[in-house]
Symmetry: C2
Subunit: 451 residues, 2 copies
């Protein structure tokens, strides 16, 4: 017999309620070292069921934490204050795509890759491609404003959200965003959901903008000379590369060496690598872009000729293994997600080096160089004292260099202490006020995002 607030939960919702050990254990972890203490997992059946759940949680003062693919890296989907995990993984509907409007409506549980595969035959794509795309859900992508290599050309998830159905922390259902392709009727309230990590509302449906897929995508890989000034190279490429360049990625020399050993890799070398993607609509446009790009590399002082990989997918599958090859070397590691202005990239790398040396460990860096968003990785257990120290040091370094503590992963519970300083006092107070209005009882994902 159940007692306490949860005694009334099964009667309050129509969806399944699980309280078994294995269900709770799965709900208590994401891809971060954060561990939760869930009391139950609920799988609501529709938006009105979510609203019932929220009203129940308000009455009983029970926290609700939304969960999709569980790939968050800072504890975003872990129930650190206990309560109910709201599992949206079965909300996998992809509703009729509108090719003229370039929009599609999806359930929050649709996996990023599933949507990608669904759209490919239509000649459309959803540009944000986080490293977790094979298992992260679109609800999670929206909640963390996720992105990946292609954000260089296409921006982060925020730009691709056209609308959302949500349940506010008040229990009210709200449809946010216009029905048309353009609207100027006040500020769009969509920001209540994009990047808010489930702290302001629960997402029950998302309308995404789509891009027309280019006819061709090729990869361009070039080894960097030792001591290359990355910030200057990135700046020159970002300002003067052809418009079709959709990604400017970096992997350091150690990561590149490990990737070269993968079967069939055929990556040029030695040393660190730049990996670019070039989109075009014809063979001749691609050739023109590649010629222009080669001259940009020369101007940037990159001595080697770039290797062209006619199939960008092969480059991406290698690039996607960067995290795995680092993990193979290091075991559990601290993997950060800072972004700095391009001019500060080299200073950031120097500081990462110094931080690793001061802890007597090794560091690796790879990431989205074209936007100054890098993932410094340290061979330390993230739950250890040393792991905590290096995280703190690298986040402080990014802030000191005029950067942000999160380029694309989010804040979760691990980076809350930096939010006040990064946002500044007046914006933080606005955010707190939005929270009070949208979630008056503080039941939505407590312990996340807000300091």
């Amino acid at each position: 017999v159940e007692s306490g607030p949860l005694a009334t939960l099964r009667a309050a919702v129509r969806g399944t309620v699980e309280r078994g050990e294995s269900a709770l254990a799965a709900a208590n972890r994401d891809a971060s070292p954060v561990i939760g203490n869930a009391d139950a997992v609920v799988r609501p059946v529709d938006a009105s069921d979510v609203a019932s759940l929220v009203r129940w949680a308000r009455r009983e003062k029970v926290p609700l934490t939304a969960r999709g693919g569980g790939t968050s890296l800072d504890g975003e989907s872990v129930p650190v204050a206990g309560g109910v995990v709201v599992d949206f993984r079965e909300w996998t509907a992809i509703e009729g795509v509108d090719a003229a409007a370039r929009r599609v409506t999806v359930g929050p549980g649709v996996v990023n890759r599933t949507l990608h595969e669904w759209l490919t035959p239509l000649g459309l794509f959803f540009p944000p491609n986080p490293g977790s795309w094979k298992s992260s859900t679109l609800g999670g992508n929206v909640s963390t404003n996720a992105s990946g290599p292609r954000s260089f050309r296409y921006g982060s998830t925020r730009r691709w959200v056209a609308g959302a159905d949500v349940v506010l922390g008040t229990g009210e259902i709200a449809r946010l965003g216009p029905t048309t392709l353009k609207r100027s009727v006040g500020p769009e309230l969509l920001d209540l959901v994009v990047g808010s990590e489930g702290t302001l509302a629960l997402i029950t449906s998302i309308t995404l903008r789509l891009a027309k897929a280019p006819a061709r995508r090729c990869g361009v890989v070039v080894p960097l000379p030792p001591g290359a000034r990355l910030g200057r190279i990135a700046g020159l490429l970002a300002s003067e590369a052809p418009r079709g360049v959709s990604a400017i990625e970096y992997v350091d020399a150690t990561v590149a060496a490990a990737l070269r050993e993968r079967p069939g890799a055929r990556l040029p070398g030695p040393g660190a690598l730049l990996l670019l993607e070039v989109e075009s609509d014809s063979e001749s446009a691609e050739s023109e872009a590649l010629v222009a790009l080669a001259s940009r590399f020369q101007a940037a002082g990159v001595p080697e000729s770039p290797s062209v990989l006619p199939d960008a997918d092969r480059m991406w599958s290698l690039r996607g293994e960067a995290g795995a090859v680092v993990a193979d070397r290091t075991g559990p590691s601290v993997r950060e997600d800072v972004a700095v202005p391009l001019g500060a990239v080299d200073s950031l790398l120097e500081r990462v080096d110094a931080i690793a040396r001061s802890e007597g460990t090794e560091s690796h860096v790879y990431g989205h160089l074209g936007q100054g968003n890098l993932h410094p990785t340290f061979a330390l257990d993230p739950a250890s004292e040393g792991g905590r120290r290096v995280r703190q040091a690298v986040l402080n370094a990014a802030r000191a260099l005029g950067g942000t503590v999160s380029g694309e992963h989010g804040v979760g519970s691990l980076k809350r202490d930096w939010v006040a300083e990064e946002l500044g006092p007046a914006p933080l107070e606005l955010l707190r006020a939005w929270k009070r209005v949208s979630d008056p009882d503080g039941i939505l994902n407590p312990g996340k995002l807000l300091p």
Copy 2:
């Protein structure tokens, strides 16, 4: 000797205070029929002066209405509740552009065209190009989420705002937006300024995103057969046109006939016209896009071959006269700004016709067909009873067809009565709550936007 609240104004700010008849008369009008009753015009000198002004206005309970180019079409910049007009037209600084980050920081008083001309030699551009671009300011463009023909490819102003310095209605100064090219630290609070029509904060500085200019832009003009189904044509072009198509415009047969009479127009005919812009980076890419586009026109059942205008600027200067040729025919007119889903475009045009007939007047339609955003214009004085009736009828028609009362102009004081129904109850309450937090005394542009 001044009495009342304004007696203390001159001492409260460092900027000039004007109360002369001609200054007030100018401040009481925008491009709409709305007329204000300003008590004073203030030209603050810097952000701290704006903050002083806001603190003074809070103490004295005096409304503040921000003003840029005064081109708003619904009374957005008109002080309908009296008080002080805050004139930002002298805030015309364009600070160092960052070509690698593709950003520029501007004062709110910079005119859209001035920025365009300033950026051209750098190979960059700010995509939103409202019809008012020769005189509207970027502060106003941001405040109304303005856009124009190129929003088909590039979206509205919202997408191009990377950051802003604002003074809240509390008198606090806040910097909104990241310093980096990517950030995932909670919801971005920039929406406090984009589209909020000066009701939540006063903008003192804007950081805009920029696009790399294409090497080539050409115009494509094609006459439409009588009875062409516009929604279907727009849908086919929007879903299947080459990626380089940046605008899909429409002018009806009467407007097209008037444009053809302009000196040197050389527009094909007869009948209504579609006007498209194609961007490309080389002659060969342009040729490929034009061939693809011609086959799309055929598939859409457009019998005439499109005429290519090698210089898109010439097409745009003709298209830019659409409003003027209508005004020449009609005198003062009601010019609306509705948007509907593409599938509802033809129904909208039928209703516009019926509305005009029921008032015994003529109507004209032109606008941004590719996004379903059209400007139905009626030959009636907007301040007359008939003018009010047709405005009401066309806004109701757009809503009934699943559309919005404003695609790109804003709400101002003329469309407030539609906002509650369009946003829905929960989003409206959120917006009211944002307002209470950002402007607790309700001094910022009262009588606008919110019903």
